[in-house]
Amino acid sequence: MATDWEVVIGLEVHVQLATKSKIFSWSSAAFGAEPNASTDPICLGLPGALPVLNRAAVESAVRLGLAAGCNIRTRCRFARKHYFYPDLPKGFQISQFDEPICEGGAIKFRLKGEARSIRLTRIHMEEDAGKNVHAAAGVSFVDLNRAGVPLCEIVSEPDVRSAEEAAEYVRAVRTLVRYLGIGDGNMEEGSLRCDANVSLRPRGSEKFGTKTEIKNMNSFKNVRDAIEHEVKRQATLLDRGERVVQETRLWDAARGVTQAMRSKEQAHDYRYFPEPDLPPLVVTELEMKALRGSLPELPEDRFARYTGEGLSTQDAGVLVADRETADYYDATVAAGAPPKRAANWVINEVLAVVGDARRLSGDNVPVPAGELATLVKSIEDGAISGKQGKEIFARVWGEWGKDKTAPLTGVTATGQIGQLIAEAGQSQVSDAGALEEACRKVVAAHPAEAARFKESPKLMGFFVGAVMKETGGKGNPKAINEILRKLLG
């Protein structure tokens, strides 16, 4: 008989920080240079080289910690973590051990509409290792460009309870990282990496079961699939009365299984000790205050504000997914657009054409928030129809932003949309006579509906639609409404 197993998952997420230079040296931290072209004595681990800490990396780590509600240590330390591997030039990684920069905190997100909060153990700073490439038989190649790129490691408590939740957690970390502008959070490119510790225990038990560490999950889907598979694997073993072996397992996406790593494991003794080349790092109250002040409104706070203002959870969820989208929406509303219609437009029209939502924060947004507000307002006021609005939008956006992947090249001049609206409004059939003619024609064509109108006022929509069709979409909806009301009684 199968036990009711509770799934217990803890996640370690490594976030690459998008600083210009590396964490301990001046080489560029940017991705994509020719192998070993972005190196210097420090990140090569040359004899005699010494680390010097990058201020921007510290600021990013503090902002991340503040955003997650962590306690930021006033004084923290770096530590050396020792192991031998070709992509680790010094034979140790400069990381943090006993006194990490951030402790506690939580990552908040929604899982199937329910608010979740996963506690964090800590967040610490460390340097990335280089990359090993296995090409020919018997040899591997080492590229140390990535060695020294700054990382934040986010360690969660084992609060996650399902594979799906794990994927959402990682997604939430990515959103947060991008909100703060501290990194790309791109799993496919490796700027966000995730390892999971997975164990099962009988539901209701307090004791932890034996955990395995799962690595090599390079997308949200892989996170979910890998953990789902591992949970099944462990459940099968335990149901048979066998034990789970504590080990590291790699996810093989192609075959859909986790595999134990082949290395003959000695105990990992990293021999941590405080990094002697870096005195303790102090973050003052003043600095923390300034960094706290620099935080944007965070995703879950925005979500609460939007739903509080009447947006649906679905719409709110889409808007907060990227900070640029939410900022753009807020600016549109601030410029006078009605919230619900503005949300509708941002979600269904703007996001459909923008490609990467981050393009909305640039200088060259084809339809800036203010202009969109003008457009949305004019539809709300009935100056133009929704259809006309979409035409104007497509025309203007298409001029500058047709290619979703290329950088946006230009921006609509202020007032240009207003101009187009005016033209469209003029072409609207507002001539009372012509409109009245169209209305009478439609009412006459639908006697049955006309007769039922008094009991079913909702039929107004049907009639307005029919009149719009009759006028080729150019009827002024407000005027049409008034005329029909008189005719239908």
Binding site: T19, Y85, N132, H134, N216
Partner: protein, 107 residues
């Protein structure tokens, strides 16, 4: 009573990636034993409540501005490489190794 066994010496040698001959292991066991015996006297020193002194400087970690400066040209970075292939360092084939988040999971 010996403080360290040849077995432990072999473990340490592996941890430190040092190939030691049997003779060296025997010698090392004796040497380390004598040294550990000597440092054992530290135990009598009462250090309760004493802050560890990890650094001999009284100031905090200085910070550097996030500015990029020129890297070493690739040829200089690789000039001392025992084995080189194009612009890579070449090593014997790597079998996926021990844990740690930074990058060893490259497979």
């Amino acid at each position: 009573m010996s403080r360290i066994t040849p077995e432990e010496v072999r473990e340490l040698a592996l941890l430190a990636r040092l190939a030691l001959s049997e003779q060296e292991i025997a010698r090392m066991t004796g040497d380390l034993d004598a040294i550990l015996d000597y440092v054992d006297a530290m135990r009598e020193l009462d250090t309760t409540g004493v802050e560890p002194m990890t650094h001999a400087v009284p100031f905090d970690c200085p910070l550097r501005a996030d500015v990029v400066a020129p890297s070493l040209p690739v040829d200089e970075a690789l000039a001392n490489a025992p084995r080189r292939e194009a612009s890579f360092f070449q090593v014997p084939r790597i079998v996926p190794g021990p844990g740690g988040g930074g990058g060893e999971e490259d497979l």
